[in-house]
Subunit: 164 residues, 2 copies
Amino acid sequence: MTDAPQKHDDHARSDGAGATTAAHPLDGHLGFILRRAQLGVFQELTGIFGAYDLRPAQFAVLKVIEARPGISQSEAAESISVKTTNFATLIAQMEARDLVRRETSPTDRRGRMLFLTPGGQTICRDVTALWADYERRLTERLGGDDARAALVAMLKALDADTPS
Amino acid sequence: MTDAPQKHDDHARSDGAGATTAAHPLDGHLGFILRRAQLGVFQELTGIFGAYDLRPAQFAVLKVIEARPGISQSEAAESISVKTTNFATLIAQMEARDLVRRETSPTDRRGRMLFLTPGGQTICRDVTALWADYERRLTERLGGDDARAALVAMLKALDADTPS
DNA sequence: TATTGTTATACTCTATAACTATA
DNA sequence: TATAGTTATAGAGTATAACAATA
């Protein structure tokens, strides 16, 4: 009970010695609250996907290819916010595991078109079910669909992207 | 404009070719939305703290020591959700930069008590001002204090920690 | 025997630079 | 010259194991 395995335990309370340790020095710090929530969710996701040895980013790749078979590597990389240089490694590993297949684009022989293999489709379908289940539980924790929609809207506002 | 430097551009819209690319395959995926918001905020924070060559975790250490001078390494590590083994490296770097000072605890000679040096106090004060400013801007983006409070409550709910 | 802190190590994620093959 | 993809590499972040000093 000493190490905090990427999880917090108790903080912000009276410390029992009389000093009433004020909240937590980072309790007003949105960046850290956000980080902990994100790490917590990813940790749970990794646990849920663990039986398939899939990390969140790999699942994201499956979903992107499923949605747009034949998508190029650069487009796929951009859509999951991964640099093309790192995507090359990521997709190579997934190809080695026979989850995805690459074809040279006939119209531009530099490009590689991405497809799911039958095995990739199966895993994508199975893991999607687990994922949907988990999202439903998250939505419950949040207090329902409206709360979730509000959360998503605020997260997108934080992302400082949505054009003014 | 090819690489997506840890930032997304446009997604989810008609793609101009008539295919109306549906939303984004990850748009319903809370984990990814959370991750992008967190990365965006940390990126902005790193930029803001950049002049002081402080990363978010280092700033967190300063704040924790400021709040509780003399705190032990294990307590400080736990309060920012970093393993003690990694905290050792982190704090050693900050000591080398003369931001913090370590004293052997008189009551338990295994323990090290942490303090801010005068330089550390100065940086902590200056960066706290920048940080508070940034938090205010974030709160505005969110739509005010109430929205922010709602966000924090939901993020904590996601963290699956708050005792039932 | 348990705890505090340290070192060594490893794996993932992210980033830059240099390269190839096409265009 | 510019683009799609690759390789090599480097830095953070996070994890485990083994250890020293102290309790």
